[in-house]
């Protein structure tokens, strides 16, 4: 069977990530000794430039705040969080996948508990093991301070990752981890609305091997099955554990 090639240009979380690190738009500090050497004309030009920047900043600020007030899933960064946090959460749409025990895995499996979600494939030597490793570290750290979040590894490579393979793979990292996969259109039903991207590279003509490109973010899903936070790379086990506990607290408080 030939792998299906995808080149999706879906709305990504890039916009959210960019808002997390807004470009600085404050005016430069003035060096008054420099100014005293300038002619009146130059000072007028500088003053006009300063006013222009200030005006542009004002317009930008208003525009950004308008954008924020009109979208539901707004990303803000409460003090002390490194993750991209969605205070209202973005509800997941329904999907029909299967877990590594071949049981149905649908949205209701993400309710009533917090979950980490990661999308990858088992033929991934570097990024996926790192993500699974960090999620194992986080669950270990938060044990005793909170109910341990569910960790779900969704394979976006169902051709090479049937349930049995997934089970053996994820349980090597932690016996509680859950592997999930399914039909491509159902994987898309889950990924599409939360900005997760994946695609297949052309297979090696000699070996038939192909690599899968995929979002490297770790997603946090809340007990209402809503996307609540996004952890971008580079992942840090301590920051992630801290953020998880804080976000959980924000939910309660």
């Amino acid at each position: 069977m030939h792998p299906v090639h995808y080149a999706r240009q879906l709305q990504t979380l890039t916009g959210i990530n960019e808002r997390r690190n807004p470009a600085p738009h404050s005016a430069k500090a003035w060096d008054t000794s420099y100014m005293s050497q300038q002619s009146v004309t130059s000072r007028a030009v500088l003053a006009a430039a300063f006013l222009a920047v200030a005006a542009a900043s004002l317009v930008l600020g208003i525009w950004l705040s308008q954008r924020q007030s009109t979208t539901d899933a707004v990303a803000t960064v409460p003090p002390g969080l490194e993750a991209t946090y969605l205070p209202q959460g973005k509800p997941l749409r329904s999907f029909d996948l299967v877990d590594h025990d071949e049981q149905p895995f649908t949205r209701d499996r993400l309710q009533n508990r917090w979950s980490f979600l990661f999308f990858g494939f088992t033929n991934c030597p570097d990024v996926c093991p790192m993500a699974l490793q960090v999620m194992r570290g986080v669950t270990e750290q938060v044990k005793g301070q909170a109910p341990v979040p569910q960790v779900v590894f969704v394979s976006v490579d169902p051709e090479r990752d049937p349930p049995a393979t997934l089970k053996a793979y994820v349980r090597h990292f932690d016996p509680e981890f859950l592997g999930v996969t399914g039909e491509i259109d159902q994987i898309d039903a889950l990924t599409r609305h939360i900005g997760v991207l994946y695609g297949y590279e052309d297979p090696d003509p000699e070996t038939g091997d192909y690599t899968v490109n995929h979002s490297a973010q770790i997603l946090l899903i809340d007990p209402q099955a809503r996307l609540r936070a996004v952890f971008s790379t580079p992942h840090d086990v301590n920051a992630m554990a801290r953020d998880f506990l804080k976000i959980r607290q924000l939910d309660k408080g």
Binding site: T12, P125, V134, T165, A168, S232, P234
Partner: protein, 157 residues
């Protein structure tokens, strides 16, 4: 008499030349990340230092423990991780290149046996001048990703 000695020396230098001229690429701390037994692809990492005055290129890697080995670089753009295959690894004169998680790595396909923790697996690096460098990579548990211990910077470019 001196001519004979010079001649003999010249002959010896000619014969010994390829050995003496072998690049002094230093391979430090080669390791392979322990992986689930079901994993078909393992990752290898190491530190490469080229103290010579000439650039050195690794053109191929192989291992009797794996079906084949490729050189790859993890690249992330707009949150999407991709692996770019590299035809060779280039270490500039006097330079150092680090293969580490999240960056450049050896992609070791089709393990002939699971890589067990603590095992030492042989690697062979082929260089641009045709010479071969043998190395032994220790199978290790992956370090926990943490930004407090990132000595060489995250991405290799």
């Amino acid at each position: 008499m001196p001519q004979t000695l010079i001649g003999l020396f010249g002959l010896w230098a000619l014969l010994a030349g390829p050995v003496l001229a072998a690049p002094a690429l230093s391979i430090e701390d080669p390791w392979i990340a322990e992986a689930p037994p079901v994993a078909r692809v393992h990752a290898g990492y190491m530190k490469l230092t080229n103290p010579t005055g000439e650039p050195i290129r690794i053109t191929a890697v192989s291992s009797p423990r794996y079906g084949r080995v490729e050189m790859h670089r993890t690249v992330e753009k707009d949150g999407v991780a991709r692996m770019l295959r590299m035809e060779e690894i280039h270490i500039e004169a006097g330079g150092q290149v680090v293969l580490e998680p999240g960056g450049m790595h050896l992609m070791l396909f089709d393990p002939r046996a699971p890589a067990r923790l603590g095992e030492n697996l042989p690697l062979r690096l082929e260089l641009n001048d045709g010479s071969l460098l043998e190395a032994t990579a220790e199978v290790r548990r992956r370090p926990m990703p943490s930004q407090h211990h990132a000595p060489h910077g995250h991405m290799q470019h």
